[in-house]
Symmetry: C2
Subunit: 336 residues, 2 copies
């Protein structure tokens, strides 16, 4: 039988953080692409648009007028998916019809007063201000809620309809599916191996050097062995950090690869249980660009992926040298 070569022979890989498999079929890249090609250039965005509800001094949907902010600006989402006071659906009458209460808060955070910048274009002190604001909103909402999700939908392809640089913060009274699974996996790994899963993983990747994208004094950025999206990356601090507010000033600073990749992150669950033992948890940021093979050809995660299992057409090792990934205009980004 032929010798196994990952870039030629399909195989499945296990994601130990989310306990699921991905089908890698790199030989499929040979197929010609006749489908949709996305426009590469962003439309020119004016620095200030008085009608854009995220700009300083503009009027928002609820009638409020934004201050003339000069740094970051955090405010309540005018159309929140989570509100603090929703009543409970009450007990279920059947095990197949279970609904539970959900409370929470949705905020929007503008990174900068100008609409024509993105994180990688901002100065080091400006980026530092964003990281500090992430740490403080995590602390503030984390005092009450067990999960504070910070994420950015970047670009129209990702359902973002406002070009002004911003992210969202959704805090919830429940641990959502993905962090719940990450919590289970990290807890089980620690109890079996005596150290955090992502600490050992980072150490191995530094040794293997096959999937590293960037390394600095404080951070490592890599394409995970189990990546689902072709240009997906994972960012990890070098030392053991459970949550964003624990980051030192040096770790928060703009030279960090985090800035280059649009951000750095939040961590272990918070809320009333924040004081429990979360040593198995390691702060990390996920970056999922919706691309197939380049910045203009989209990977559709559709029938097979939604209904059976994620499938990708390039190996993680093949995509790690994709230098422009740090400046991609479309991605979902989050820190957890």
């Amino acid at each position: 039988p032929a010798t196994f070569r990952p870039s030629e022979h399909q195989h499945i890989r296990y994601n130990p953080l989310q306990d699921e498999w991905v089908l890698v079929s790199a030989h499929r890249m040979k197929r010609p692409w006749q489908g949709q090609v996305e426009p590469q250039l962003l439309p020119t965005v004016p620095r200030h648009d008085p009608l854009n509800p995220l700009c300083p001094g503009a009027r928002r949907a609820n009638g409020e007028v934004n201050p003339h902010y000069s740094g970051t600006y955090l405010f309540d989402n005018d159309f929140p998916a989570l509100q603090p006071d929703a009543p409970s659906p009450g007990p279920s009458d059947h095990p197949l019809f279970r609904a539970e209460a959900a409370q929470g808060v949705c905020k929007v955070m503008c990174f900068h007063p100008w609409s024509d910048v993105t994180l990688p274009l901002m100065s080091i002190p400006e980026i530092r201000a964003v990281v500090d604001e992430w740490a403080s909103v995590t602390e503030e909402l984390g005092a009450q809620y067990p999960w504070v999700q910070i994420f950015e939908n970047k670009g129209a392809m990702m359902g973002c309809s406002n070009p002004h640089p911003h992210c969202q913060v959704w805090a919830s009274s429940f641990l959502p599916n993905v962090p719940q699974q990450e919590e289970r996996s990290q807890r089980a790994y620690q109890s079996q191996h005596g150290e955090p899963l992502l600490m050992e993983y980072a150490r191995q990747e530094l040794l293997r050097k096959e999937r590293l994208v960037l390394t600095s004094e404080h951070w490592i950025v890599l394409v995970p062995f189990w990546a689902v999206w072709p240009f997906q990356t994972l960012m990890l601090p070098r030392r053991h950090v459970r949550r964003l507010p624990e980051l030192t000033p040096a770790e928060r600073d703009g030279e960090s690869p985090g800035a280059a990749l649009d951000g750095c992150g939040s961590g272990a669950p918070t809320g009333p249980e924040a004081g429990a033992n979360w040593d198995h948890w390691q702060l990390h940021a996920h970056y999922y660009p919706p691309l197939l093979r380049s910045a203009t050809v989209r990977k559709f995660m559709v029938g097979y992926e939604m209904l059976a299992q994620a499938q990708r057409d390039l190996t993680p090792e093949q995509t790690r040298t994709y230098e422009s990934s740090s400046r991609l205009s479309h991605a979902a980004f989050s820190v957890q």
Copy 2:
């Protein structure tokens, strides 16, 4: 405190088939939509295009010429994500770097010789031929492979670049993530409650009458209580059927709601273990259209959804009367 009303108060719902939660925030529909609006009308598709590789008599990417087929037409995908002979990656050297062998077959099935029809526009005998072909390909590939995934990516929004009516069949040597979870859930339910999860679920929905879309002598179509996509539906046979080939002639016939909704389905795992006890499994078909509130406004499942948990802006009960869902031009459809 206020009385709980599902269409006004956010809550989470449990999906007992896939063991995960969805956040339902129906009050959010009040938000204005300023984002992308999808073109409603499909471009006119010629009945026959000699350059379309799915048409009768056309040349495919691998140089082969299609026969002048007059019914369904099944052939090997020219760019298969799964091939029958990929070598194994061999044993893993570390628990965080696990890869395993994946073998399989990918086929394409044309539903009809004409490019300008879709299943709901076809005649009853023509639809019956498709269902029979699904049953026979399940039987054929299921003799060797434990999972045969039949799915359709319908429309450009779903990454489908060829308008000719067709579906795909991917058979694999492994049970993919979603059916693996459905298998676990159905097995556990049966062992706890002594009957198949989806049989009890269908019975309850027939009693509750809140989420039924269509019912016929042999089939039930409903919006599941735990639906993630706004116009998602689930189709179930009335009697206990484990796999597609078990369907009776009457159940396969075109009057079935299945035809109206673009298809009907495959079931329990197959392959060498097909003879084991699969009584906990019930055949069902999933239908996921990528819509937010109408056929032209897309629901983006992006940052929060990819990284935390699925979220929807309409309750399942609100969407069940969306009559045109059966003729939607974009969806992911599968039977399992």
